[in-house]
Amino acid sequence: MRLESLYWLSIQLNLNNGIVAVKLDEVPGLFIRIIPTATSLFNLSKLNLKQNNVRALNTGDVPQPTPKYNCSILEDMFLEENSKFVKKTFSEWEELGEALILLKVWARLRSSIYVHDCLNGFLISVIVSYLVAQDKINHDMKAMAIFRAALKFIDTHPLWKHGLYFPPAGDNAFSEEGNEQHNSSTRVNLAFRIASVAYPELQDEVALTLRCLEKCRDGGFEEIFATKIDNAAKYDYCIRLNLKGNSEVYSLGFCLDDECWRVYEQDVHCLLNQGLSDRAKFIRVIWRNTHSEFNVENGLSGLGSEPLFIGISVSSVEKAFRIVDIGPNAEKKDEALMFQKFWGEKAELRRFQDGKISESTVWESEQWTRHLILKRIIEYLLGRHLSLLKKDIVQIVDQLDFSLLHVGKDPVSYSGRLLGTFEELSKRLRSIQDIPLRVSSVQPLDSAFRFTSVFPPEPHPMATKRVDGARVHNFTPFCVQSLEVMIQLEGSGNWPMDDVSIEKTKSVFLLKIAESLHNNWGMTCTATEEDVDVFMDGYSFRLRILHERGLSLVNREIGRDQMKWVSSADRKLFIHGQHASMINGLQFCYPIFGPVVRLAKRWLASHLFSACLAEEAVELLVAYLFLKPLPFNVPCSRITGFLRFLRLLAEHDWAFSPLVVDINGDLSQNDEKEIDDYFMQSRKADEENTQNKSKAMFLATACDKASEAWTSCSPNPLELKRLVAYARSSANLLTKLILQNQTDSHGWECLFRTPLNLYDAVILLHGDRLPYPKRLLFTSELDQGRHVAHGNPSNAFHPYLLPADMKGSLEQLKTKLMVNFDPLRCFIGDVEKEFSDGLKLWYDSLGGDAIGLTWEHSKKREREESELDRKYPVDLLRNVGEMGKGFVRDVYLLKAPRLTK
């Protein structure tokens, strides 16, 4: 045997218990830890919890008790004895050993409780042995029952208060081993490391686990034993304090009952607890101040270089986003003074609506920056009380906001105005008299109405009744986003019967409505044969009619197999409408839902997955996180939610299980069985028909049990595989960014930068010919592959109004406005029409300037091989480039297609 290395460690970061760890050469991964014990060195009577053993620690002349220090010495003294006891309990009891393994696995997956001031492996075995000694566990119990019993014990027995003594009080079974000589006050409290601040966290974790056992599929196995609950995904706000070289930590010296790092942890916890009050449910402060390369010979100087971690679970979003904190009444002088002292210049006397005059703090903030209030409070408090500099406080809050901003502002701030405008529109629509059938209901469909659109439209200065010349400036976009609105008309027996006529009749109705709106209110309308758009207060709305006959058929379509009778347009509209109202309801319950969806959508789009996953499917995926958060709590910050979204994508077992999104919580067991049956059916169909696999991602809801609405065609299995791989690497990167000390923004940007070398060919577009150039996150460049073609930008289209345009009259200008014009979509449509069986396109519909191409091998192509042979691959790419004349900037070839012959 040869020693590979030998180094110093400490038990649970406590330097009083130094140990030596030995790593052996032969067996990788095996460590031997040598723990010194001192069975007879100290006088037991002096180690009573109320005794002082650290001479330097006294207030005035009265020595302070040093319970922690005494306990650590006691632990050393009785270590052998205790481990003997534990060993004896576990010998020849298989179930108990298995239960212990389960418990350890459970604890290790939860990094917030498996730390120095909470649980550790030895303590868990001690707890289990204790329960055996107490007869709480007997030989009839199976491993899972023991596991549950241990959790229940932890939940109900406040370890930090009562302590955990061996042997249990009133038990004389071990008296022959010589324990009778010390009374209870000098026995070791084996749970002395559990801090009072850590216990509630532990309790919560246990409660969540017990809930998993009850509620989750397969007895919660995956949630309890196979899901990693690390700090990044658990806490809503993660903060790192860089305390390297901070002298204040050591100001009290090293001769304390507890070590200075632990004392500092406590200080920070106290401070935040007081400052955040009911905004935070849990605050966890963990400072892993030693690291593996720690060397005793260097003294204590190298310690504390690791950052201190603060995790905060928010109690509720409303509380966390609160602007005013009301303090004590001004009449209570003492309390008011304390308040002022704590908050400094932030404290101000205010008179409130109910006439009360109180001390208070106010954190003025716009609606879309409310999530930053907590950050500001923490920054202020740490700066004021611990004199930390801003650069040493890394708060993970707003690092991803850059991806949602448009020209420096979050466009969601316009949503209030949008909803107001929509209200007015629906009032006008319902009051229209001069059409044969009256409008009975108006429902919003677009995601902007439910706060889940990445870029909800900003009011356009020209999409109004009277154009305000002053607000038309150089950067006024030429294009207007149109938002879909669904209308239902009164019932009538006079509708035509065939689909074509129905659609035409709808168009006629819409034109009439538009005309009426124009005549009565002077609203501008523009129409094609399919769509009618009306302008109002800067927004453009696209009207659609849902025909009730189609709707009634949808309802029964499952039972009587009348699919052919359902007009597909109506069906789509109906499903959209249902989805919109469902998500809208959910959005009101969870205010953080919107931002998480927006981040998720932006991430998917920026990795060119726009064609793979429908917008609505993303909303459902994120909804799942909020509806079934176990083993976590409901996410309360956008970054945590986003991280969990990525992990869901990466870790869900898409091949073998359906994802059931139960929005109203009303799915019965029968419903779930039905969903399972549909799922099995579709998988079986895939097995038989390997050519054409569908529903790789099975997303079932109460109104769509067979997952037909959003994921029936895309993503296909290959796309899903790619999606999962991207999600996994992004999730890993994000976790690293949250937990490790990286302060540069570049790392965060990488989450939204997609590697272009993973495609067979890449088309880059002219960024300034996109309809909204400001939405582009990064200009794409490629320095590899073969440059096949280069194109010049067209002069026919500009995203912004040019000075030349503005010379004409404003009314004339208004007619030039383009509704929902998107060259990217046109280009994609053209290319797909022409080359659908040889190429697959990956693009970003939210305003990216790159399109990835991969070669597809389909049956059809094989047949036409000879003809296409000549074209491949350079000519083909040039042809593709030609189709996007004036829009395509560069075309690169990275990988020639593999031939199939």
Binding site: R108, D218, F225, G491, G493, W495, D498, V500, S501, K504, V508, L511, E515, A527, T528, E529, R549, L551, S552, W565, D653, F656, S657, R722, A725, Y726, S730, H746, G747, C750, R753, P755, L758, D783, Q784, R786, H787, V788, A789, H790, G791, N792, P793, S794, A796, F821, P823, F827, H857, R870, Y872, V874, D875, E882, K885, G886, A896, R898, L899, T900
Partner: protein, 250 residues
């Protein structure tokens, strides 16, 4: 032939797996890349050199790739041969395209004069599709009239055919206004959907399902079958979970 196809698919999957690996590497190494710019520059210059011989390189790479795959499918010798022939073909192909282009970057015109393709086409299409409300109205009216006459004609033709065969179509005109659609049985117009549904629900509740003993027995049997099938499904799931090896405690 069939077998080969299967193999090809597998190869596809393998390829994808590699791409996936690359993603993981790429995203994580990005930062490092930024740090050592010098090495990146080197790489860049290398790449530039490569660009000149780019096509040959691509061919080589492609062959390498295939060889790797062949390693995986050593058993199938036939397959190997076929693959080789195809790789030669691809080289030919690449040479061909090389001959076409002579290493020049093809210049796509901005196309401002040409309406058949690209930006100009989309813009014209956009504007053409919006001729104004009046025109649209007219168009749709025309369409509907044409459509109706077409339908009418079809109907008449059908009738004519029937009369030719000696049949006479008898039509029923009297009676009150229709409220239900004859084909689907759904209400049209006056009676609301909700009322119909309510009626249906009422009708259903009147039926008794546990009147006869055999009904009860059947229900029990069904229940049992359901439980059994669920048990089987759970068993299958556990097997799948095991196969997926998701549980990695250490």
């Amino acid at each position: 032939m069939k077998k080969k196809k299967g193999n090809r698919e597998k190869a596809n999957v393998v390829d994808d797996g590699e791409a996936v690996q690359m993603v993981a590497n790429l995203i994580t190494t990005k930062e490092e890349k930024k740090k050592d710019k010098s090495s990146k520059k080197k790489r860049k210059s290398q790449e530039k050199n490569n660009a000149c011989v780019g096509i040959d390189q691509l061919g080589d790479e492609y062959e390498d790739h295939l060889q790797k795959q062949n390693g995986k499918y050593k058993k199938d010798r036939k397959m190997k041969k076929k693959d080789h022939s195809s790789s030669r073909e691809s080289e030919q192909l690449v040479e061909m395209s090389k001959a076409v282009d002579e290493d020049e970057v093809y210049e796509i015109p901005s196309g401002d004069e040409d309406c058949s393709k690209g930006m100009k086409k989309w813009l014209t299409k956009y504007h053409q599709s919006r001729p104004g409300l009046k025109v649209l109205q007219q168009r749709i009216d025309d369409f509907i009239i044409a459509h109706e006459t077409k339908l009418e004609q079809e109907r008449k033709e059908k009738e004519a055919r029937l009369t030719e065969g000696g049949w006479i179509l008898v039509e029923h005109h009297k009676g009150r206004k229709k409220t239900t659609d004859s084909e689907s049985g759904t209400t049209v117009g006056s009676v609301s959907q909700a009322v119909v549904e309510e009626k249906l629900a009422k009708k259903k509740s009147k039926e008794l399902f546990d009147f006869y003993r055999f009904q009860k027995r059947e229900a029990q049997k069904n229940e049992l079958m359901k439980l059994q099938s669920k048990f089987e499904q759970d068993k299958k799931r556990i097997q799948q979970l095991r196969a997926a090896r998701k549980f990695r405690p250490y």
